[in-house]
Point group: C2
DNA sequence: TGAATTTGTTCGATTCAGAAACTAATCTTC
DNA sequence: GAAGATTAGTTTCTGAATCGAACAAATTCA
């Protein structure tokens, strides 16, 4: 039940019904392919005639295609329909503090090419490098006519409408506009998004099918700890694009000092740096504040390897992170009561070592039994969630419900 | 941008466009009354002919009516339109631990009658009492044909679909169905809702007009501390109806013990009992666990009165509550980045005494400048937010956007 | 070979938005 | 006070979409 915003609404025109039904058909094909027209008519409780004309339009605009005929026990055999994803391409870009990744993928998120380079922190130089590399990749794969857009994920706050990066502390950026420059250089639409939010988008649009209604939180544990919130199938962006900043909510005011200045933030207990600092027995210090990147003595991957090699102090540091992670998740679960929580980040490589501790942490804080039982799902390794998020950024608008009322 | 749930969608029929536009017209009249047909046509960027036929339907179903003709500098004078609220009535019920309130009001939330009685904790007896009183009120005001429903607000978790009260600790209820019994006894549709969520609904539907897009959190500070979350004009209910439970998120694990068993919950710092306990220098104890209600020695109203009378210890206890309230609000503001936060509860009577402390608390935790500047609006006194919420429960569905796609 | 069954298309009826013409009511101007 | 201008509201026709039924196509089974 939504209230209509009388200062910002979209009235129905005479094509609105068709737009709605076309999107529903497209999504049904997406979820149930291969599927026939008659099947769609049954699922939508609609006449087959309407399906015929909608399918004609969808084939015309190139979003779906007819495949081989299927099999039927009796009667005429159905022609099966598929969503066209293989030759609709996206350039996904993930800008991180240390490295920048560029992936060419199709609408289903399937990787076609992947490369990376050391991030250039000066925005203008990074933009130039990106334009050159993107054009080279597109040319190398003959993808210029088939690419529908560029999706860029950055570790910072993004104003979606203007595409401006308001602030990205790790990159040292403030109010930077890279979208227009890249659009000019590549000639494709460009979307930019904050990393945790993009991960949540990826989970919603490119994750496993058949999950219950999209109502979840995607928590990324990396240099920082942030979250993307999806409620009722919608990404929650917030009034000033900063929703999901759970990382600096306090667990304990007497806890370790966080990079934000406060004490005992969730992030100060659970970020990769926090886990390493716990192991090394020293204070938290910013990875991106250091003059040389090589100065980082130990990575979280190293730590996990040591733990697996029998280093109990490493294992304890990691398990403690799991416990604190769970406590924070307990708060989130109380606050939003999502149907699932996803966790991404390097720490998921050690999920078997922390799962129990995470669960205990949640139960320690969860108020209701249902909330305490909220499934926590680690991102599978090697999935490139941020790059998939960048892909979803471009692909999702083609499948989303039309805005109405 | 919403994802379509392929297991639960609503396709467009040939009347869908009209439904959408009818609701938009209704809401425009609601927000801008008195307003003419020509005005609506201009606001919707639509032909006057369409407006004529939509208005005809709305008048026919009795949701709006024609008033006197307005004035125009030149040309024919417009006939002004109004939403019919005065003779569409609602019975609003607020069940609290100590007393139960019944209000007869119209669709605009205007109070017509109000009575209260000591809450009977046995569900069957309470239901019988409610039925008798509701019928008596309806008869006394000749309201039987004009009343559109009963809205009930309870301090507990409610499953909206079945109308069952899953758990209400203050009342000692667990999995109680009072809706069907009241429906049978009164013969009107009955809606039940959790108190903070209902308050949020009241704020959205019966609050001040002209606010920015509905994206806020309504925090109730009372015996417990809970919140109703509204994002993009939609009440967030959660996967198992428990969204908004910020009250037991921790501020400090070494803090005072909360009634939930944990230490340092937000509620343990900010509930009325917490404030009183701070003043009295004793442990928190549950108001509803006490054998006799008269055992409560001091109310929060008394405390505020003492503070106003010059009792600095009372003033300090209240101001401390304001500070902790602000800290918790800081976390909420980080997490959801709402455009506003509303605060309800007895403590708002002392808002002038705590406003600065609340603000400081928020700034202490807010991550971005925009989040730190989120307006915090206290509920005005004597507004009966829960009863207004019960009214909104019945009235809002008549004005909400039609569900589509 | 023909009946039954299922898929997909076509076509008229109905319901809407959209556009324009039309009527009604009022003010201004000559 | 009549003519013209202006605005409000209604009517009417057109085109787009659903809805339902009839129809053609393709396949299995008796």
């Amino acid at each position: 039940m939504r209230k209509i915003d009388t200062r910002d609404f979209r009235r129905a025109t005479r094509t609105t019904s068709r737009e709605i039904n076309r999107r529903i058909v497209l999504n049904l094909v997406r979820d149930h392919q291969p599927v026939s027209r008659a099947d769609l008519a049954r699922r939508m409780n609609i006449g087959r005639g309407v399906v015929t004309s909608i399918i004609q339009e969808l084939i015309g605009e190139g979003t779906i295609y007819e495949g081989a005929t299927g099999h039927a026990a009796r009667g005429r055999r159905p022609t099966m329909l598929y969503v066209r994803t293989q030759d609709r391409l996206v350039v996904a870009v993930d800008v991180r503090f240390s490295r920048t990744f560029i992936m060419l993928s199709d609408f289903a998120g399937t990787q076609i090419a992947l490369e990376s380079f050391e991030t250039i922190l000066a925005p203008e130089l990074l933009v130039a490098e990106l334009i050159e590399r993107i054009n080279r990749i597109l040319a190398a794969h003959g993808a210029h006519g088939r690419c529908e857009g560029v999706g860029i994920v950055v570790p910072g706050m993004v104003e979606r409408m203007s595409g401006r990066i308001l602030v990205a502390p790790q990159l040292g950026w403030r109010d930077v506009d890279i979208r227009n420059a890249i659009f000019d250089g590549v000639g494709l639409p460009v979307s930019i998004e904050n990393a945790p939010m993009a991960c949540a988008l990826a989970q919603m649009w490119l994750g496993q099918r058949g999950n219950s209604s999209d109502n979840f939180v995607y928590v990324t544990v990396s240099d920082g700890v942030g979250a993307g919130i999806v409620l009722n199938g919608q990404l929650i962006r917030g009034d000033s694009n900063s929703a999901g900043e759970f990382g600096h909510n306090p667990l304990d005011p007497d806890g370790p000092q966080c990079l934000c200045g406060a004490h005992g933030c969730w992030e100060a207990y659970t970020s990769n740096q926090a886990t390493l600092s716990r192991y090394l027995g020293r204070e938290l210090s910013p990875i991106w504040g250091q003059s040389t990147r090589q100065a980082v003595p130990l990575t979280i991957e190293d730590l996990i390897a040591r733990a697996r090699g029998g280093d109990t102090r490493a294992a304890n540091a990691i398990e403690a992170t799991g416990h604190y992670l769970g406590i924070g998740l307990g708060s989130i679960v109380n606050a939003l009561n999502p149907s699932q929580v996803f966790v991404g980040g390097e720490i998921t490589a050690a999920w078997d070592m922390i799962e129990v501790a995470v669960r205990e942490g949640i139960l320690e804080r969860a108020l209701t039994r249902a909330a305490g039982a909220t499934p926590v799902v680690p991102e599978q390794m090697g999935g490139y969630p941020r790059l998939r998020g960048a892909t979803a950024l471009v692909a999702a608008p083609h499948f989303a419900a039309p805005r109405v009322a």
